[in-house]
Symmetry: C2
Subunit: 288 residues, 2 copies
Amino acid sequence: MDYFESVVQNLDNEFNKLFRGKEPKNLYEAMSYSVLAGGKRLRPVLLIAACECFGGDINYAMPFAVAVELIHTYSLIHDDLPAMDNDDLRRGKPTNHIVYGEAMAILAGDGLLNMAYEIMSHFCAENDEIKYVNAMKEIAAAAGANGMVGGQAVDILSEGIEISGDVLEYIHKHKTASMICASLAAGAIVGGADPGDVERFRKVGNLIGFAFQVQDDILDYKGDEIKVGKSLGGDERNKKTTYISLHGIDKATADFEKDFNCAIEILRKVKNTENLIEIVKNVLHRDK
Amino acid sequence: MDYFESVVQNLDNEFNKLFRGKEPKNLYEAMSYSVLAGGKRLRPVLLIAACECFGGDINYAMPFAVAVELIHTYSLIHDDLPAMDNDDLRRGKPTNHIVYGEAMAILAGDGLLNMAYEIMSHFCAENDEIKYVNAMKEIAAAAGANGMVGGQAVDILSEGIEISGDVLEYIHKHKTASMICASLAAGAIVGGADPGDVERFRKVGNLIGFAFQVQDDILDYKGDEIKVGKSLGGDERNKKTTYISLHGIDKATADFEKDFNCAIEILRKVKNTENLIEIVKNVLHRDK
């Protein structure tokens, strides 16, 4: 079992414990349905790997790793709602509202978002170190209206219309990259990284978050069956404008390479980043 | 201007600053619409008054006060959605989804819930004292699936059917009382109360939260025009079962009196609670 897989197994053990025997049953069942439906667990794996680069203990990273995945999952449940993207399937399974109804899906999303903060604030109260509060702050700033929620709002408002390169960049940066960026930064903070390395990890997060989306457009364009963006719960917008429609396939490919190489270069400047580099290569299908 | 009004004015100044000049504009406009639509500001006023009982500074209570009102407002926006209570009007104005559409209303709610945690975690990071983290933890525990979201879920599942007294109590306790309880406890914690007084304030929160709802049923029964529950953003469920249908008007009135008196009695045992007692009397229409 490689590093990625072993971290995912650790995470899944945590997720399984979260919902067991809790009341109200229907609500917790709806919440657990989407969390336990699988997915790459990219954000929490990045968070844990980032923490370990600085010698941090996985047990102290775990509450934050769980939180970023709960936040990611709530956003997928709400994105899939009829009023939003109106998706019936996610990862090959019926979406939350198809199984539990719209009202319960809205509440399941609300419950998961709140649970993320419950877990983090509980951990911060039990472990009185300012770095943990800083990690939570990093995640909260990325998840909200200045981050992921803002990206989703602009995406919804752009549906079916031509948008500029700036707007497309805004959507990618906020809807997808901001939580990836926060996962890396929060992991580094929990691990005890100095502010310079935290900032380096933020940059890496932005680069790979953007690279994902461009790669998704490239794979779409090439008709490739490996839908990276989808498996990451990334951009499934009703695309009229894509990076390729704006810039062409050659520039898109070159920009993807540039961002990927730049991210790896930054990571190589920080010690003990071997596992993290493997994960980034794996996720961007550059592991061969 | 009495104490209540002066605190509300302070709060409104804070709310006005929250959304100004922020992007994405449409999202922040939808968020601000419901926050600035008015309301009694009961929860934040209770939080600030509780803090002041223990000599706490209002400036340190303010971020938590703002947070509980943002959480309350997000819950109203989501509760009003077509898939939930399907309300077109709230406080005499069109509800959020009527003005901004369902998708933006869902995101405005998500944005407000997240903003509450952003504000609290930012404050906790700037003011490194464990009591602030404990106040945030208190609020997070009350807002989620074990608290308000759980109460709303059971309410939705009980719609249009006869329910037992236990289920009705569960709904009132979780949907309404839990955030009132957390507001009082968090205020006390920020003010520096000892654990005994924090627990007393939790008890008071449960008593007055429950008393509100019983009073709402009583006013409904009497056909009174003062709809306390509505103005508090409280229980607007499609009621088949009420406290009165279960127990009769005489027991309901007696229980309301008992809870009210019990809350006041507990508060009188704590020093400097005069303003807080006035607020409780005022809200429960026992100020004359």
